[in-house]
């Protein structure tokens, strides 16, 4: 009896070892590209262009980062990217917060139709992207608004209006109406209610919208490449230029690409708590 149990326990351990090893190998293979780009950024130029496969770098150098910081146009691209992303976030909040407040708290004619119109758009939006971009380019050319970082940020904010309004509206819905009704009875204005009561409680929801819109501006490629001229290119477009049009050394590309990804990864980690709370409460309710 006792030995039978022992066999069962050790079989369980062996199973755990085998399964965990399989999972570790699969994870290793799947994440190899990320490992490779990180190590490439600190390998010397010469070792990249041999045919020998070098899993662990034999020599480490920060030449590529030196190039990014002192010889490339990284800071120009960074400035453009930050401008677009920060403006996108500001425009999004200006457009979305009042609308979400109205959708959550007021009753008015056509409210449901408008909300479902927004929802339908978020479901079909992707396919219409390039379709709309063709005319958008023509319209912007006609209005002489091409090659503007501000216009680009407005386009990003506009594209996010349906999704972000829904997200924040459903978040506001979870806050009891008694709060603002009590304040209204006490003589506060609707603006006071929104500014002093709803916004402070809704930090996770607002943070979610802010992070999403910032990331959207930071990572978008197609519209940026289409409407901007080279001097206004953002980081993603610059990365494509390095890799696609010029034969930039792979270690230099790797270094700039990683610097481009750092804010995204950091933001995910920092905002994860907020994001999850915001999405869980506001996300998929319908």
């Amino acid at each position: 009896m006792k030995s039978k149990m022992k066999i069962k326990v050790s079989r369980k351990i062996i199973m755990a070892i085998i399964a965990t090893t399989i999972a570790a190998v699969i994870t290793g293979v799947l994440l190899f590209p990320v490992y490779w780009i990180i190590t490439s950024s600190i390998k010397p130029y010469a070792s990249l262009y041999t045919t020998r496969f070098e899993l662990i770098p034999r020599q480490i150098t920060f030449d590529a980062y030196n190039w990014v910081f002192f010889k490339s146009n990284f800071f120009l691209r960074l400035r453009n990217s930050l401008t677009v992303s920060i403006l996108t976030t500001i425009f999004t909040l200006i457009l979305v917060v009042p609308a979400a407040y109205a959708f959550s708290r007021f009753k008015f004619f056509g409210k449901d139709k408008l909300l479902y119109g927004y929802l339908a758009f978020t479901q079909f939006a992707g396919g219409l992207g390039i379709t709309g971009l063709i005319a958008l380019y023509a319209i912007l050319a006609y209005l002489n608004l091409l090659n503007s970082l501000v216009v680009l940020a407005i386009i990003y904010a506009a594209g996010g209006v349906p999704f972000n309004t829904w997200l924040l509206k459903t978040y506001f819905d979870t806050i009891p109406k008694d709060f603002d009704e009590a304040a209204l009875v006490d003589g506060a204005s609707y603006l006071d209610v929104m500014w002093r009561i709803l916004l402070p409680i809704s930090k996770p929801g607002i943070a979610t919208v802010a992070v999403f819109s910032f990331m959207g501006g930071w990572t978008e490629f197609i519209v940026a490449q289409t409407i901007l001229n080279p001097e206004n290119y953002t980081l993603p477009v610059e990365l494509y230029r390095l890799m696609g049009q010029y034969e930039t050394p792979w270690n230099q590309f790797a270094a700039m690409a990683l610097l481009f990804a750092v804010p995204v990864v950091v933001m995910y980690m920092v905002a994860q708590k907020y994001l999850q709370a915001g999405l869980a409460m506001g996300g998929v309710k319908g």
Partner: protein
């Protein structure tokens, strides 16, 4: 009194909604409507500032019936990509979710957060990174192949190889989404169901067939519809890997429409092309969602 209060509320609400709505309408809906109009014109890069004219159905005729049209080739290539990449994405996502869901694995939370990494990275970075890995001369993949004694493969400058590379990258980008959806569905299955089924004498396969599959079917279906849509609209993967080449042989529909507009400069023709493609996408999404709702209502 009551009524005037309500009108005042309505006005206030519209005032709050208007800025977002107007910006959305101007930058999203108006361009789409305007593109539909451009589809019936001969607009191109040179006359786009206003001197183009309406030419009726000529663009549509050219796309659908002209002997040299690339429409059917591009559509065929795209559908082929959907048919290869979607089963791979689903199979991969399900397999990883099942693996991560098995209780015998240590450190499941760690594996999960590591495996989700491709999802958090910006797509532009990931795809360009893969472009480096696929490089014929110094890419990691060929280095590994050669160190194992295989010949180097010309990944991106060959129609079939590039198509295979697209599939690899697409699967890498999308498996975290599929895995997460399936894993959430698996974890929502109450364990008591398995226990009672086991007591009733159901074997491993029967439990999979009669408990697991029906319970994860609905989320898996919707995720598959969404990821099929993503494959059909693949743009960044072919564009950033090798521009849909070599020699325009791998230009999927969205990429073809984009290039016709912004590289060739044929705005009217490209708009007509994209109108047709948008109709196909909307029909597909509508049917997919309808079927999903019907089967889940049963």
């Amino acid at each position: 009194m009551k009524k005037s209060h309500r009108t005042w509320m309505t006005n206030k609400a519209f005032l709050l909604i208007m800025p977002g709505l107007l910006v959305f309408l101007f930058f999203n809906l108006y361009p789409i409507a305007y593109s539909v109009y451009l589809a019936f014109t001969n607009a191109n890069f040179y006359n786009i500032m206003g001197k183009y004219s309406i030419i009726g159905l000529e663009n549509f005729q050219k796309i659908l019936f002209h002997p040299n049209t690339r429409f059917y080739y591009s559509l065929e290539r795209t559908v082929l990509f959907v048919l290869t990449s979607v089963p791979l994405k689903v199979a991969f996502g399900v397999a990883l979710a099942v693996l991560l869901n098995s209780a015998v694995i240590r450190g499941r939370a760690l594996f999960r957060s590591l495996l989700i990494l491709p999802w958090t990275l910006p797509a532009v970075l990931s795809i360009l990174m893969w472009r480096g890995l696929f490089n014929m001369d110094f890419g990691a993949i060929n280095k590994i192949l050669m160190s194992m004694g295989f010949p180097a493969i010309n990944w991106l400058n060959d129609t079939l190889n590039a198509f295979i590379a697209y599939n690899i990258v697409e699967v890498w980008l999308a498996y975290p989404f599929m895995m997460t959806v399936v894993l959430a569905a698996l974890q929502s299955v109450p364990p008591e169901l398995y226990d009672s089924a086991q007591i009733d004498g159901a074997g491993r396969l029967q439990r999979l067939r009669y408990i697991t599959l029906p319970l994860i079917f609905r989320p898996l279906w919707f995720a598959t519809i969404l990821t099929s849509n993503a494959s059909f609209q693949a743009f960044l993967v072919p564009y950033l890997l090798n521009g849909g080449g070599p020699a325009r042989t791998n230009e999927f529909v969205i990429l073809y429409g984009y290039k016709e507009a912004f590289q060739i400069g044929e705005f009217g023709y490209a708009a007509a092309f994209m109108v047709i493609i948008s109709l196909i996408i909307m029909a597909f999404m509508y049917v997919g969602m309808k079927v999903g709702r019907m089967t889940s209502e049963e």
